[in-house]
Symmetry: C2
Subunit: 199 residues, 2 copies
C-alpha cells in the first residue's frame, strides 16, 4: 500500500513530520507519495482569512510551546518564525514540478528548515533558490518549471483533491480514502497502510 503524505510549507507540525516520515515509512516498508497542497483555499472555505493559530490566540500560544517541546524531543532545531504563516506557494510549485525527482524529500526538508529553523522568508525566490542549490539543482531551471502552467495546474489539482478527501489541516495522511490528521497520527496511518487499508 501507498501512504499519501499531504503537507503545506506554512504548517508548523508538518515540519516535525517531514523530518521523520521517510525513516518511519522505510522501516514499515510502506511506500510514500509526497503531496504538496495549499491550506489557504481550504481555510477560506471555512471562513478563515488567516491561520487558525492566529485567529485563535489561545490555541496559537499552545501550539508554539508544543512545537518547542516536540522539536526538542525529536532533536530538531526550531526557531519561532518572525512571520507566520509564511506563503509557501512558490516552494509548493517547485515541489509539484519535482514530484518524480529523488531529491524532492531533501528539498522539502530544506524549505521547512529555512522556515522553522533559520527564520527565512520561504516566499522569496532567493531563499527557494538556495535550498535548490543545497540539493545540487540549478535554481533557474526549477524556478522556471515552477512557473509553468502545467505545474500551477498540478498544485491546484492537489489542493482540490485534498478538499475532496476532506482534508482540513496539515500534516494529513491518506491511505486510499482514509484520512489521518496530525503529526501525532503518522503511526496510526502507517499501521492502517500495513493492514492493507482494511482496518
Amino acid at each position: 500500500m501507498t501512504l499519501d503524505f499531504w503537507f503545506e510549507f506554512a504548517s508548523t507540525y508538518s515540519y516535525l513530520t517531514v523530518a521523520r516520515i521517510e525513516a518511519v515509512a522505510r522501516a514499515a516498508e510502506v511506500s510514500l507519495r509526497w503531496r504538496p497542497f495549499l491550506l489557504g483555499p481550504i481555510f477560506r472555505e471555512q471562513g478563515w482569512d488567516d491561520s487558525p493559530f492566529n485567529l485563535y490566540p489561545v490555541k496559537g500560544r499552545y501550539m508554539w510551546r508544543d512545537m518547542e517541546r516536540l522539536a526538542d524531543g525529536y532533536g530538531l532545531p526550531f526557531t519561532r518564525p518572525t512571520t507566520f504563516p509564511r506563503n509557501g506557494l512558490l516552494a509548493a510549485r517547485v515541489a509539484c514540478a519535482a514530484l518524480q525527482e529523488s531529491w524532492l524529500p531533501e528539498f522539502v526538508r530544506g524549505i521547512y528548515h529555512a522556515n522553522f529553523a533559520e527564520d527565512r522568508d520561504i516566499s522569496e525566490p532567493d531563499v527557494v533558490a538556495r535550498v535548490l542549490e543545497g540539493v545540487s539543482q540549478a535554481p533557474q531551471e526549477w524556478l522556471e518549471r515552477a512557473g509553468a502552467a502545467a505545474t500551477k495546474a498540478r498544485l491546484r489539482e492537489h489542493t482540490q483533491e485534498a478538499t475532496r478527501l476532506g482534508i482540513f489541516g496539515a500534516p494529513s495522511f491518506a491511505v486510499g480514502e482514509e484520512i489521518f490528521w496530525g503529526n501525532d497520527r503518522l503511526g496510526d496511518a502507517i499501521a492502517w497502510c500495513r493492514l492493507g487499508g482494511a482496518g
Copy 2:
C-alpha cells in the same frame, strides 16, 4: 508528580482517554487528579456558540470517522450520539461534588458510556441517577449535592482555572503549568510528569 486530567462530558475524544487513563497512570506510577470543567464558556470566548465539530463540518466528519476507528482500536463500544454536543453540566456538577470519592472514575466512565455508547441524554437527571446507582450511590443525595452553591462554585472555579492555564479543548492534561491537549498526547503528558516537569 501529579497529572491533572481536564475533561468535559460532551467531548468525544475525552471518552477515549477516560477509558484508559487510570491504567496508564497506574503503570507509570503517576498520581491523577480528575478535573471536570465546561468547554462552553471557553468556546464562547473564542466566538463559538456550538462545538467546532458542528461549526466546521469538514472537521466534524473527520472526527466521527476517527472516533469509530479509535474506539475500535481500543475495543470500546461507540455509537455516534443522535445529539451532539450534549449538555454535561449536571454530570460535571456531580463530579465536582464527588472529587474525593473513590467511585469518581467509575462514575465518569459511566457518564461517557451513557453518552457515547448508549446514546443517552446525559443532561437528564434520570440518566445521571442511573449511572450513580451503577456505582452503588444514592442518586438523590448526589443530585442534591450537585445543586449546592459550593458545588456550582467549584465547577466555575475549575473552568476559570482551565481558562487561566490556556486550555481550549478536551481532553487536556496539565503538569503544573505545562499543558498537553488531546487523547493522542496522554503518553507525552505522563512522560513529562515522570521527568518531574523539568522537560
